[in-house]
């Protein structure tokens, strides 16, 4: 994109289009460098426990469009790469151990998805181990990833959206009577950040 820097507004728009097109054409098997995205929740629905009545209700949750986070995808090619990412990615990989052998395959890459949420000076980092997959849009091309121990997150790098299924276990467990929580599924949309 460096060649776009000195061009007119019209050309810049064209370059932006090229960037989108380039994002659409990603083949995740050949990705080498880290990928950066800015994401926001577009829609979310599920179950919610009313704190007053204690009743569980099916709800559409409101999402704040200004509430954004950074999603970083780090390609994992070796045990050394695992040492450089948050611990959760390595431990999830080990738990998937029965079909994730110690070796890494070039044509079946793994990723560590690192979500960084920043709010009022506080930073929260969530990391998940991801495996390569395909989506229906891709004509059998590898353009998507499934993350988390129960494949709780899906992200389509062509259409730049993902689905996150929040774990029901955290929703209505022991603390349910004391703390209001929800079990939900949400769709998030992202834009690629060039770094």
């Amino acid at each position: 994109m460096k060649h776009c820097e000195r061009l007119s507004v019209l050309s810049l728009s064209f370059c932006a289009l090229l960037a989108v097109e380039s994002a659409s054409a990603l083949d995740l098997r050949t990705v080498v460098k880290d990928l950066y995205y800015e994401c926001r929740t577009e829609m979310s629905a599920g179950l919610h426990k009313d704190p007053k009545s204690g009743k569980i209700e099916a709800t559409v949750f409101q999402s704040d469009p200004s509430d954004r986070w950074e999603m970083k995808l780090v390609r994992l090619k070796s045990q050394d790469d695992i040492k450089k990412v948050p611990h959760a990615c390595g431990s999830e990989r080990e738990k998937r151990g029965s079909y994730f052998p110690k070796i890494f395959y070039d044509d079946f890459p793994e990723f560590c998805k690192i979500d960084t949420f920043t709010s009022e000076g506080h930073t929260l980092v969530r990391a998940e181990h991801c495996e390569l997959t395909r989506s229906v849009s891709s004509n059998q091309r590898y353009n998507a990833i499934a993350c988390g121990l129960g494949d709780t997150t899906f992200f389509d790098s062509d259409r730049l959206f993902g689905i996150d299924g929040n774990n029901a276990i955290s929703g209505f467990g022991d603390l349910a009577s004391k703390i209001v929580r929800s079990a939900s599924v949400s769709k998030f949309v992202c834009q690629r950040l060039d770094r």
Binding site: E42, M43, S44, A45, G46, L47, I56, E57, A58, T59, V60, E94, K95, R96, G97, S98, T133, R134, S135, V136, A144, A146, L149, G150, D151, T152, T153, F154, D156, I163, D164, G165, N166, N167, A168, I169, G171, F172, G173, D174, L175, A176, S177, K178, S182, A183, S184, V185, S186, K187
Partner: protein
Amino acid sequence: MATPKKIVRPLVGLSASVLAMTFLANDGFALNLKEAKTPIHYECQTTLSGGLWQDEKTGEWMSGKVLPHSEKYRMTLERFDDTKGQRKKDCLEEEKRTGGPKYKNTDFCLTFKASREETRYCMITASSSVAGGYNNFLCPLGRIFFDSDRLYGVKTDSPEFVELSPGLATTASKFSCSRLDR
């Protein structure tokens, strides 16, 4: 003497029903899964569901309440060591993936039987409603939580469907059950 009999009989019947129902309810509340004999059979039904789905014609994503499924299905909870055949294989695979605790009396397998059969690895756990009792179970990969006292559970569907079929919904749902084998 005929009159008292007429009064007593319905009373006895009523008392027996109330007593029996109380015992049944109490039995449900007092279940300690650590000690319970398995398999335990339930009949369940989705009662509440909310989530996302993709309109097959427009491709648009929608969010909202999803109509509950009307069909009932069978749910069987069985101690891991007592589970056999294909169920055991499926359960074992999930146990490995979860890096499960592998404690004999907390490892369980849960089988849903509707149009197809699905077995999940679960572990039993305590809830705040019963002091010291193991009355809940969690199935990490199936994302299922079930409270055997209150006889309801919560399940979040996998978003993997996106790869398989664009028309299906991904949901968080509540299901309610009744015990079958008392």
